[in-house]
């Protein structure tokens, strides 16, 4: 899901995203999602590049950087800041909370020595809370990158984290 920025050329990533999703206003969320998928977040250079590539006086298309930044800051799956190589999303809603979620969350924070929204100094982990992921029958639930873990107990945390490089 995430890879270091230097591996990817902003211009070609933005170009590919626009080719795939289109040049209209309603394609902007998918375009930003695509950029976020490649870089792990939406870099400011990428926002600038989207505006540049979409600028087309003939079609009267003007998308401002501020509009794209507004989208990035609004939607939870888009990040304005760089994140670690792996992002842990922990569901903090009531169904997971009731069946023991808090103990898992405390365990995660302790194990990684992170608070909500922080990234480890080695850039390996970012820990964030998320709203309901719709996997409530197997709560407590956490998501690492695209891998879902259900019925998680505090004892399992170390073993789960060891699976990631």
């Amino acid at each position: 899901m995430t890879a270091p920025t230097i591996d990817h050329d902003v211009v070609s990533v933005v170009h590919a995203a626009i080719e795939k999703h289109g040049r209209n206003r309603d394609a902007m969320i998918p375009v930003l999602s695509e950029i976020n998928r490649v870089f792990g977040y939406v870099p400011r250079e990428a926002i600038r590049e989207v505006c540049k590539q979409l600028h087309d006086p003939a079609r009267q298309v003007h998308i401002a950087e501020s509009q794209l930044f507004a989208l990035t800051s609004f939607y939870d799956m888009l990040s304005t800041k760089p994140r670690g190589r792996h992002v842990i999303k922990f569901c903090e809603n009531a169904p997971c909370h009731i069946v023991g979620g808090k103990a898992v969350w405390d365990g995660l924070k302790e194990k990684l020595n992170l608070e909500n929204g922080e990234t480890t100094p080695d850039n390996k982990w970012t820990l964030v809370t998320t709203s309901c992921l719709g996997l409530c029958s197997v709560g407590p639930v956490l998501l690492i990158d695209d891998d879902m873990y259900g019925n998680v107990t505090p004892e399992q945390i170390s073993e789960i984290l060891e699976r990631y490089e």
């Binding site: 206003r25 309603d26 939607y75 799956m77 009531a94 009731i98 069946v99 309901c132 719709g134 029958s137």
Partner: protein, 546 residues
């Protein structure tokens, strides 16, 4: 804890009560004690039966044997024979031909797995969702064929309206009426939008439909488009539902290939196609006008209404926004008729409801049952009881439009009207069952944390109200609350309900109101004695007498 081996349902609609249902329940309790069965058998009630000749009814689970009419004098004999000796009392059996509707399917579905009535989830888990042929061979696209070859758009709307189908996203607006508005709107371009932005905490019913039976949504949207006069549809699916997205994408391609989408569908001059749009993580986008904003590529901030989407929706064109579960009912209604649909559920809320059950119960997952089933029935029959050592304290019906239902209300039939009368809301159908170890303050704090995080920030009452409410409840949970702050909470709640722009802010107050209505003493204990009765909240401040 001793595992319950049987459950008795007694009808308690007004007619049954007049004929002695309460005496029957009393006699049942006595007889169970006499035979030492009180720990093995549960007694519950069932209402809206509509079988006036055989009331009161007594239904014994898991065999699903229906007795009726039962008199109080019969009860002891019935308990001795059926529950103690295990023999069915044939003299008291209700005549089979009288058993129709809800009670009919109860009787028709015996066995270990409790009876469900699946319309929305009819195929989910039974067919290969990635194979259109399996959908077609299980009545798939029949309804679309029928609509296009035999029915007028007005005829379709008429059936849907007569079926009494109400929106399953939480608000319960009659679907037929919504379609009528869009049909009546003057415009050369109209849209049908499927709201698959399922984000209410505890709700995953739509995911099960989308992952297990994606074609039913495509078929329903095509039918809706024909009825509305639309030729384009959008499915707005939340970004987190990757598998559902991929299956829908595949299903749309297959449907195009088979000619169910595209031009001249079924050889008629009806054209229709569907686009699928993934969200990027924002709960508020489940609100229909925020969803439309997001579809247009903007921040998902709800619009001011009026105008409503039925006249000015997507790109200012008349638009019908319907929930996944609502749409999944449509093909079955077209195939079987409005009267069939009305025979299921309760008169005021026809049809079934998909519930997601979770919390301190033995079975968590998804069920589909007729409207009007009670919370007690769901817990005891479908969730197979509370976990060992747990007793029911409350149930939370999920997300912003839901309520906190205390145990005393567990016999209220779960349908839109009964719940409205009882002052609670069905919400999206999530049932979070909480036991005695749940602290109300802690639970409401978690709910308010959700709202303050998900408030889009466009309007002040919601943005500030959710934040301030959270802060107060957070202080109470730490033993730092003051009694007068409970009045502040209610004051804030009133302002938020009156002045918020959309449902999020208007209903974020429900947990606060329910907390103070049903569990005020527990809240006050946190404040007056600096003590969390359940021991959940960590009191951080040394208590000083106020």
């Amino acid at each position: 804890m001793i595992k319950k081996r049987a459950m008795i349902l007694v009808s308690n609609d007004p007619e049954s009560v007049r004929l002695g249902a309460n005496e029957i329940i009393q006699h049942l309790n006595e007889a169970l004690v006499t035979y030492g069965l009180q720990d093995e058998v549960d007694i519950s009630t069932i209402s809206d039966i509509n079988h006036s000749n055989i009331l009161p009814l007594v239904v014994v689970y898991p065999e699903a044997v229906v007795y009726g009419p039962v008199k109080a004098a019969d009860v002891r004999y019935l308990v001795e024979e059926h529950l103690y000796k295990g023999r069915v009392v044939t003299d008291l059996l209700a005549p089979p031909k009288m058993l129709t509707g809800q009670i009919g399917w109860l009787r028709g579905h015996k066995g270990y797995n409790p009876a469900e009535h699946r319309i929305v989830l009819e195929r989910a888990g039974r067919i290969d969702p990635e194979n259109i042929e399996e959908y077609i061979t299980s009545n798939g696209y029949d309804a679309l064929g029928k609509v296009l070859s035999e029915m007028t758009p007005e005829g379709v709307i008429d059936i849907v309206e007569r079926s009494g189908l109400q929106g399953r996203g939480g608000a319960g607006f009659p679907t037929g009426r919504k379609w009528k508005f869009v049909r009546a709107a003057q415009s050369s371009k109209k849209y049908i939008v499927c709201n698959a932005d399922e984000s209410e905490p505890g709700t995953f019913k739509d995911r099960i439909v989308l992952e297990g039976d994606p074609h039913v949504i495509i078929e329903a949207m095509a039918i809706a488009a024909y009825a509305l006069g639309a030729d384009e549809g959008y499915i707005y699916i939340r970004g987190e539902y990757g598998l559902a997205f991929r299956r829908l994408e595949k299903a749309i391609l297959q449907a195009r290939e088979f000619g169910f989408l595209g031009n001249n569908i079924f050889g008629t001059n009806f054209n229709f196609d569907i686009h699928i749009h993934a969200g990027a993580g924002a709960y508020v986008c489940g609100e229909e006008t925020a969803l439309l904003e997001s579809l247009e590529g903007k921040r998902g901030e709800p619009r001011s209404r009026p105008p409503y989407p039925v006249t000015k929706g997507l790109w200012n064109k008349p638009t019908s926004v319907n929930n996944v579960e609502t749409l999944a009912n449509i093909p079955a209604i077209i195939r079987n008729g409005a009267e069939w649909y009305r025979s299921i559920g309760t008169p005021s809320s026809p049809g079934t409801k998909v519930y997601t059950i979770m919390g301190n119960v033995n079975f968590s997952g998804v069920i589909e049952v007729p409207m009007g089933v009670t919370l007690r029935e769901v817990i005891n029959i479908y969730a197979r009881g509370m976990k060992p050592g747990s007793t029911l304290k409350l149930a939370q019906t999920g997300g912003s439009s839901g309520s906190i239902i205390p145990a005393v209300l567990q016999d209220t039939p779960m349908d839109f009207e009964s719940f409205r009368k009882a002052g609670v809301s069905l919400g999206s159908g999530a049932l979070l069952i909480c036991d005695q170890n749940t602290c109300i303050v802690d639970l409401v704090k978690v709910l308010l944390q959700f709202f303050r995080f998900e408030s889009c920030g466009k309007c002040t009452p919601c943005r500030v109200g959710t934040q301030r409410s959270y802060e107060i409840v957070d202080r109470i949970s730490k033993g730092q609350g003051r009694l007068e702050e409970l009045d502040t909470l209610l004051l804030l709640a009133g302002e938020m309900e009156r002045a918020s722009n959309c449902g999020l802010g208007q209903t974020a107050t429900v947990p606060i109101r329910d907390m103070l209505k049903h569990f005020r003493t527990e809240v006050e204990a946190h404040i007056r004695s600096g003590n969390c009765p359940t021991g959940v909240c960590e009191m951080t401040q040394e208590f000083e007498k106020i």
